[in-house]
Amino acid sequence: MIAKLSPTQMAWRAAQDIDDGAYVNLGIGFPELVARFQPPGRQAIFHTENGILGFGGAPHPGEEDWDLINAGKKAVTIKPGTAFFHHADSFAMVRGGHLDVAILGAYEVAETGDLANWSTGPKGVPAVGGAMDLVHGARRVAVMTDHVTKDGKPKLVARCTLPLTGVACVTRVYSSHAVIDIEGGHFVLREKLPGLSLDDLQSLTGAELRTPGPVGDLIVPEL
């Protein structure tokens, strides 16, 4: 079996597409790792729903200030140029189209661009947070996800079966196996792991992978 990318490696790949000066929101969990891998010479500005723009990394253990947390309730730090604001202003940034990129996790992504990432169904406690706002606000909505579930089922599907977070909102997927754009209601393969055949990748994918252009090698450093 081919070595898939780790979450850290997916984060590295996603970080390569973020421009200098971009305003970026990273979803709770693995997407938060993207902030660690800004390419040299580029500096993105990170937004968190709970009212901080331009925050820095985690504080040293024991130096946490619990008034200074991100949307995942993890302690962060300020750095020169940080700004605080209230929740309505924070979501004005989101909904008003001021963020360049949002990178979110996913339970399922459909070739239509639909995303499901907030509810696994009627059992359990639902929790939506800011995801539904982000998918309709950021100029570019990308997903970072394992290509398949722990049971080996495709997470990239023709149509989502779980409750939707948003309709036709995702335009790029950074998976453990590939980089895939969503264009015109189709998955368009841009990069795949070098040792993985297109047929094998297709077999792990729940909808047709189109290849109208060249498919690059998804090469990521050991991290």
Binding site: T48, E49, N50, G51, I52, D65, W66, D67, L68, I69, K73, I78, F84, F85, H86, H87, A88, S90, F91, V94, R95, S119, G124, V125, P126, A127, V128, G129, G130, A131, M132, D133, H136, G137, P163, L164, T165, G166, V167
Partner: protein, 244 residues
């Protein structure tokens, strides 16, 4: 005019059964722990208030603050965006047992509904949630070719908010990301009660630095060293303390 209230007990004394109470905070940051605990004290002493509808981003964590309010059996319904936390057992048990109602609202819509309540905007349109289960039954309108969901304002009888400095006229500053929903909830409640770390004289807050102007505040109570919910939970605290 002086909006100072002499004690936490007095600050929460007029909150009645069945009221809608907005409680500031995002997780533990900005959670008015002392005001919430004072409300629990009152319930334990008098049996009131109960059947509260609480508006908060979350559903409490551990066994202090909002979680303790739920655990005490005072909350009938919760309006929130993210009822998960490191230790959400208090809410989760009640929710799965059908003993507490939940209105789940996307976070930006929750913030905007509260602001709308404070700003006299009875309804607004948002792209958020369109085509999802959370927009079911809500009016949809197309503007410039794109569909939007109509959402209503949220108002409250009371808001309990934690701020940093407050002058006697009610002008407030906050501390870092503890600001979150505070300024919005101050606007949206008929009666806003704020706990601040220090009450200062008018003029001691730079007029440029006021985040919540005093017009949105009805009462202030000083809590010089407020508990941080996160610290309490890491220490395994419970409220009220269980007899040992």
């Amino acid at each position: 005019m002086d909006k100072t209230i002499g004690s936490l007990a007095l600050a929460v004394a007029t909150i009645g059964d069945g009221m809608t109470v907005m409680i500031g905070g995002f997780g533990g940051s900005g959670a008015p722990v002392e005001l919430i605990h004072a409300l629990i004290d009152r319930f334990l002493a008098t049996g009131h208030p109960h059947d509260l509808t609480v508006v908060n981003n979350n559903a409490g964590n551990g066994h202090v603050g909002l979680a303790a309010l739920i655990e005490a059996g005072m909350v009938r319904k919760l309006i929130c965006s993210f009822p998960r936390s490191a230790d959400p057992v208090v809410f989760t048990e009640r929710y799965l047992a059908g003993r507490i109602d939940l209105e789940l609202v996307p976070q930006g819509t929750l913030a905007e509904r509260i602001r709308a309540g404070g700003a006299g905007i009875p309804a607004f349109y948002t792209p958020t949630g369109h085509g999802t289960d959370l927009a079911k039954g809500k009016p949809v309108e197309v503007f410039d070719g794109r569909p939007y969901v109509r959402e209503r304002w949220l108002k409250a009888d009371v808001a309990l908010v934690k701020a940093h400095l407050g002058d006697r006229l009610g002008n407030l500053t906050y501390r870092m990301a503890a600001r979150n929903f505070g300024p919005l909830m101050c606007m949206a409640a008929a009666r806003t009660i704020v706990q601040v770390s220090r009450i200062v004289e008018p003029g001691q807050i730079d007029p440029e630095a006021v985040v919540t102007p005093g017009i949105f505040v009805q009462g202030l109570v000083e809590v010089p060293v407020p508990a941080q919910e996160e610290d309490l939970n890491r220490a395994g605290a419970r409220y009220p303390r269980v007899a040992e």
